[in-house]
């Protein structure tokens, strides 16, 4: 077997020191820290928090009528508000403090964007409404598309992908379609650097390519010699993240792109880290063929506890003809939607639809509001401050934490550290959990895989110097405890709503839904 050591091993330690000075409470609550039962434990099937006009009609659905109980408990409005408010307080968010998750770009989410997305003219518009009645919505999509093309220096864009990975799939499918159109079906290999995010190989495999890994150099960049040696008639292309997952700019990307093109392949750029270079570098100038843009990273749409995102893809001239439908275009003063029925003339090679309707409109309005608020000058300052903040963290902590690539020069928008020097038995995981007690969200841990016990810190440009100084102080303190082997760090967090959770039990005996219990106390199993 190949022992896959890349993942981290969750460790549990008895946690009996919750900072409570031994004081027990009747409820188990601790002042503002309130536990909350499941709705299935507090609601009832007969309770509703919504009023309806009287309706005594009966349905005429015959045998299709739903008669058996569904068992969906309801709550009154005050109970509902309290339930979710209590739950919200068990979450950490950007609004609460520094959230330095590397490669995730957790920047401030402006509330103007929320207000605009909720305007009736955007939030309450049907996707299949007649085209003359949705000119404003199409105008937003078009205006955002023009900005994204200008910022990336790319001639075309597909707006409909629903998230970064979906955009990545879109770009890779464009490459596949372009190869098929050229009759080059023998190009079945996609080259992916070993530092790549897991979606890259997953996406390429889904699109029917076989994956070959390209090593990284000791300096944390793609091994150009190894990559170039692998190019050939079976290679479809390469997927490169730039700036890369080690927080470094791929200096040789233009040369790589030229060589890949000369060898008949295409270059996909993972745009997850575009925030580092927005307004200063146009990926199009580096010769790439496709790049997705995570609107929820660079352009500040909220992460929402795990989505929804949006992943438009900019495309080169070579790939543009294959972009999926629909497409928004202008005809005179009007905006038109190019769909299946009118694609034949202008987009005969478009490969079809990737999702129903027109894409993540609610994210387009937010992202465009962010872009217009900053303008070209502000976006340049965004990348500048993001890189400044990351370098400040790097240089402030390199005397305490191992920073493997710090000697090679400045980093981009994220600083990478490792667990080298920690006491026996102490790991990156312990540092992350220690930071929780200090009131911070931990950085990205154990990614990228190319260094041991990675800690990837991305402060973003929306952190103040005072906030960063406090974070740097906390991380230094926790790292010193890890190096000295403080036992209490092994059982951190002590002050969070929960101690470390037993992930092994969760995976061995999955409980994914709350069980239904019959009146006789027996668990009712569904099909």
């Amino acid at each position: 077997m190949n022992i896959n050591n890349s993942g981290w091993k969750p460790e549990l330690a008895a946690n009996d020191s919750n900072g409570d000075a031994g004081v027990a409470t009747f409820t188990g609550n601790r002042a503002l820290m309130l536990d909350e039962p499941l709705i299935f434990e507090i609601g009832s099937n007969a309770t509703t928090g919504v009023d309806f006009a009287a309706c005594d009609a009966r349905h005429d659905l015959g045998a299709l009528a739903r008669t058996a109980p569904i068992n969906l408990p309801g709550l009154s409005e005050p109970e509902t508000v309290r339930h979710y408010t209590r739950l919200s307080r068990q979450n950490y968010g950007i609004d609460l403090g520094v959230f330095p998750l590397g490669s995730c770009t957790m920047k401030h989410n402006p509330r103007l964007n929320e207000k605009i997305a909720r305007m009736k003219g955007f939030g309450d518009v049907h996707p299949l409404a007649p085209i003359p009645t949705i000119q404003g919505a199409l105008a937003v999509i078009h205006e955002l598309a023009e900005w994204l093309k200008a910022l990336t220096g790319m001639p075309a864009i597909a707006m409909s992908p629903k998230a970064g990975a979906h955009g990545e799939l879109c770009g890779i499918l464009c490459i596949r379609a372009a190869l098929e159109a050229r009759g080059e079906t023998a190009r079945t290999v996609m080259l992916v650097p070993e530092s790549a995010h897991g979606t890259n190989p997953a996406t390429a495999a889904f699109a029917g390519f076989s994956i070959e890994s390209i090593p990284a150099t000791a300096q944390g960049r793609v091994d150009v010699a190894a990559l170039e040696a692998r190019l050939g008639p079976d290679v479809a292309g390469v997927m490169i993240t730039n700036p890369n997952t080690c927080g470094l700019f791929e200096r040789d990307l233009k040369r790589i792109a030229d060589n890949v093109h000369a060898a008949g392949g295409y270059v996909y750029c993972d745009g997850a880290n575009f925030n580092a270079i927005v307004g200063r570098v146009r990926p199009g100038d580096l010769g790439i063929d496709a790049m997705h843009i995570n609107l929820h990273k660079t352009f500040s749409t909220p992460h929402g506890g795990g989505g929804p995102g949006a992943g438009p893809v900019v495309l080169s001239e070579a790939l543009a003809p294959f972009a999926p439908l629909p497409v928004v275009e202008t005809q005179g003063d009007d905006y038109v939607l190019i769909e299946e029925e009118n694609a034949a003339e202008s987009h005969p090679q478009a490969f079809g639809r990737m999702a129903a309707f027109q894409g993540q409109m609610g994210m387009f309005t937010r992202a465009l509001a962010y872009i217009l608020s900053h303008g070209a000058d502000g976006l340049c300052q965004v990348s500048g401050d993001a890189v400044l903040n990351a370098n400040y963290v790097l240089r402030s902590l390199e005397d305490t934490l191992d920073a493997p690539f710090a000697h090679s020069g400045p980093c981009m928008h994220e600083a990478l550290f490792t667990d080298v020097g920690f006491a026996e038995g102490f790991s990156t995981l312990d540092v992350a959990k220690g930071l929780i007690d200090e009131g911070f969200h931990p950085m990205t841990v154990y990614f990228p895989l190319v260094v041991h016990g990675a800690m990837l810190v991305e402060p973003t440009e929306t952190e103040s110097k005072a906030g960063l100084d406090q974070f740097i102080g906390a991380l230094r303190s926790v790292a010193e405890r890890a190096k000295a082997g403080y036992p209490t760090l092994k059982s951190a967090p002590h002050f969070a709503p929960r101690a470390r959770l037993d992930e092994t039990q969760a995976a061995r005996k999955p409980v994914l839904v709350h069980p239904l219990i019959s009146a006789a106390g027996k668990r009712i199993t569904s099909p």
């Binding site: 009832s44 029917g208 307004g279 129903a356 309707f357 929780i436 994914l512």
Partner: protein
């Protein structure tokens, strides 16, 4: 710049710590030929909050919002009343500005919501398990097809003609690259193809996909089809684009569907011109390890308290890389939260009442509209959406209705351009937001347009 906290003094101090002369110097690793030497030409500069809001207000006025007009559009996106508390709660910063719950000790809010959401979806669909949501209904449908192929080790899927044409298009796009064989057909107003599908399902079939209610709004029992699939070793995938219907009609799981997916927009999520929406995904327990997407599971913490974590993540791309069950690495978290809050406010009693109100209003509207000369009902059994056969092509009628300030439905010509047999079809959705006056407005406008 209102979103950037650093002052010039801060920047100078930080550069001194770093030992760099300027911010530009921090970009020294970027080759000079790749660096722009100034701002990108032709782009606007920063603007005040007021100016940006004004720009969008202007654009928003160029759209006809559902709330401002008699409104009857459906076909995969529905306007329901969303209680005010839903939008308030999802805007709490702890939900709105949280990340994926990878640090479960400080993400129990999101995780418990996902566990409750999974349970609600599973019960609504009549399935054993559900995931933490997908991008939307159309992509969830493709993921179900892909999962069925993994389970059955077959690659041929039969799509019912009643499946939303955009969903069909997504499946065809993906299948072109994965090598799955997708069979689909144009629907027929004369009746559904379920009996035909039951006859065609065979030893090569991975799955049969039906929509319930279907694209015309028609509802039908799927038990016979489920039996036929089971006998052939194929899976039955049911697609629900209007989950409110399941407050009135039997769930697909009850009738034997193996995988049930859907679009959850109807509950808690606005129309938003098509996205973001929330894909629902549920199935039998034995398929759990083949499921795509995130799963939240119950466990305990080190001191024995109940808690929740993302689990079974070895299925996913960040661990399995090219062997993952899907490349998806997100869910529609905030939309799933909105769905779950709305469902909690409704409860079973409220959902059933909501469904009854929808159904009743739709029946009444259908009765009124079919009084118009030449207008006939094409869907004998429906929930809150039905198809009318007009005496003329429906698509220009819809535009003419819009000019009379009525958003009267979705023409089948929009969904199936070039199919003559369908061009007179108009799909009309009637939810609780439609008043009797709205129905009368549509009837009057339609009479006027047809006159």
């Amino acid at each position: 710049m209102r979103y950037l906290p650093l002052t010039d003094t801060d920047r100078a101090e930080m550069l001194a710590t770093i030992g760099a002369p300027s911010i530009d110097a921090l970009f020294a690793e970027v080759p000079a030929e790749a660096r722009l030497d100034g701002l990108i030409a032709g782009l606007a500069h920063h603007q005040s909050e007021m100016a940006v809001e004004r720009h969008f207000s202007h654009l928003a006025r160029r759209n006809m919002a559902a709330a401002h007009h008699p409104f009857f559009l459906g076909c995969g996106a529905y306007k329901h009343h969303i209680p005010a508390s839903v939008d308030h709660l999802i805007q709490r910063g702890e939900f709105l500005t949280a990340y994926t719950p990878y640090q479960p000790e400080i993400a129990q809010g999101t995780l418990q919501v996902l566990f409750e959401f999974q349970t609600q979806v599973a019960r609504l669909f009549g399935c054993a398990v559900a995931n933490a949501s997908m991008y939307d209904g159309s992509t969830a449908c493709w993921e179900a097809i892909s999962m069925a192929a993994r389970i059955t080790r077959r690659k041929s899927v039969l799509l019912s003609a009643g499946l939303h044409p955009h969903y069909v298009s997504v499946a065809q796009t993906m299948a072109r690259f994965t090598g799955d064989v997708v069979e689909s057909a144009v629907p027929d107003l004369a009746g559904s193809d379920w009996a035909d599908l039951a006859a065609r399902v065979g030893p090569e079939t991975s799955a049969v996909v039906v929509q319930y209610p279907d694209i015309f709004g028609q509802v039908e029992d799927m038990e016979a089809l489920a039996s036929a699939c089971q006998a052939a070793g194929a899976l039955l995938i049911a697609v629900v684009t209007e989950p409110v219907a399941l407050g009135a009609i039997k769930s697909p799981g009850e009738m034997g569907a193996d995988i049930v997916v859907g679009e959850g927009q109807s509950l808690g999520v606005g129309l938003q011109f098509g996205g973001p929406y929330v894909g629902l995904f549920a199935c039998r327990e034995k398929f759990v390890r083949q499921m795509p997407g995130r799963l939240c599971g119950q466990t305990v913490d080190a001191s024995g308290k109940r808690g929740f974590v993302l689990t079974l993540s070895t299925r996913e791309q960040h661990i399995r890389r090219e062997k993952a069950t899907s490349n998806i690495c997100t869910n529609a978290g905030l939309c799933a939260l909105a769905f779950s809050i709305h469902m909690t406010l409704l409860g079973e009693a409220g959902l059933r009442q909501l469904a009854l109100v929808n159904h009743t209003k739709a029946r009444r509207a259908a009765a009124r509209l079919t009084q118009i000369n030449g207008v006939a009902l094409a869907t004998p059994s429906f929930f809150n959406e039905f198809t009318l056969s007009l005496p003329v092509e429906a698509r220009p009628v819809v535009r003419a209705l819009a000019e009379r300030q009525v958003l009267g439905g979705v023409s089948l010509g929009r969904l199936y351009p070039g199919i003559n047999a369908l061009e007179n079809g108009l799909v009309v959705a009637v939810t609780e937001v439609v008043s009797d006056d709205d129905v009368e407005a549509l009837a009057t406008a339609l009479e006027g347009v047809l006159a």
